[in-house]
C-alpha cells in the first residue's frame, strides 16, 4: 500500500513540476492556462492522498473546472491580440525567485519534513458544526463579501456594455 502511495506521490510531483515549467515556458498564454489546470490537478491529487478527499473534489470542480477554464475562455474571447507581450527571461530573476521561494518555503518545509504528513480522514460533520457554531460571523462576512464582489464584476461589465 505504501509503495503505491509513494508512487502516486512521485507521479503527482512530476505532473506538478512539468506543468509549472509549462506555465513559464509556453509561448502562448492559452497554453499557460492549460498547464495551470495541470498544476491544479496535481494539487488535488495530493489533497486526496492526504485524506482531504472532499477538498480535492471541490478543488477540481471549482478551481480546475471553473477558474482555469474561465481564464482559457477569456483568452479565446479576447483573441490573439490579447496574448501579446513576450516574457523577459533573465537568469538573475530566476535566482531571485529561488531565493524568495526558499525564504517562503523554509517554515513550511520545517514542519512537513520534521513531521511527515499522515493521511487521515476529515470529519466534515465537525467542519460543518465549526462553521455554523463557532465561525458563523466570519462565514457571514465572507458570504456578503463574495456576493458583493460578484455583483460588482457583473455591474462593471454591464456598465461598459451599455455605454458602448
Amino acid at each position: 500500500m505504501s509503495v503505491w502511495v509513494d508512487a502516486a506521490a512521485a507521479a503527482l510531483t512530476l505532473i506538478a513540476v512539468v506543468s509549472a515549467a509549462g506555465i513559464i515556458a509556453a509561448r502562448r498564454t492559452f497554453y499557460s492556462a492549460f498547464w495551470l489546470a495541470g498544476v491544479g490537478l496535481a494539487v488535488a491529487g495530493f489533497m486526496a492522498l492526504l485524506g482531504f478527499t472532499y477538498l480535492a473534489t471541490f478543488h477540481l470542480i471549482v478551481y480546475v473546472g471553473a477558474a482555469a477554464s474561465f481564464i482559457a475562455f477569456t483568452l479565446l474571447m479576447l483573441g490573439e491580440e490579447a496574448e501579446a507581450g513576450e516574457e523577459a527571461h533573465d537568469p538573475r530573476k530566476l535566482g531571485l525567485a529561488v531565493l524568495l521561494a526558499a525564504i517562503l518555503w523554509f517554515p513550511v518545509a520545517h514542519v512537513v519534513l520534521r513531521h511527515p504528513p499522515l493521511p487521515g480522514s476529515v470529519e466534515w460533520r465537525n467542519v460543518a458544526s465549526m462553521l455554523t457554531e463557532r465561525l458563523w460571523l466570519p462565514l457571514l462576512i465572507t458570504v456578503v463579501g463574495l456576493s458583493a464582489a460578484l455583483v460588482e464584476a457583473i455591474t462593471l461589465t454591464r456598465g461598459v456594455k451599455e455605454s458602448d
Binding site: I23, F58, A66, G85, V111, A149
Partner: protein, 101 residues
Amino acid sequence: MIEGVLIATTIFVLIVAGIYGILVSRNMIRLLICVETLFNAILLSIVAVGASTSRLTSFGLLGLMAIVLTAVEVAVLTAVLVLLYRRRRSLRLEALRELKG
C-alpha cells in the same frame, strides 16, 4: 517520509515558478496565471501542514475558504481585464502605466 519530501519539493517548485513568472511576465493574464500558481503552492502548504500537525478539520476549513475566495478573485480579475482590453486594446503591463492619474 518520501511523501513529505515529495510534497515539500512540489511546494518549492510551484513557488519558484509563480515568483519567476510574476517577475518576467509582460502580459496581465499570464501574470494572473502565475499568481494562481502561487496560490496552488499555498493551498498545498495549508493541506500539508494540516496533515503534519493532525489538525485536519481546521486546515480543511482554511483550504475550503481559500479555494472559494480564489475562484471569486479570478472571476473579478478577468472581468476587470476584459474591460481594460476593451478600452486599451492591449493587455501588456505597460498599458497599466497609462492609467496613472
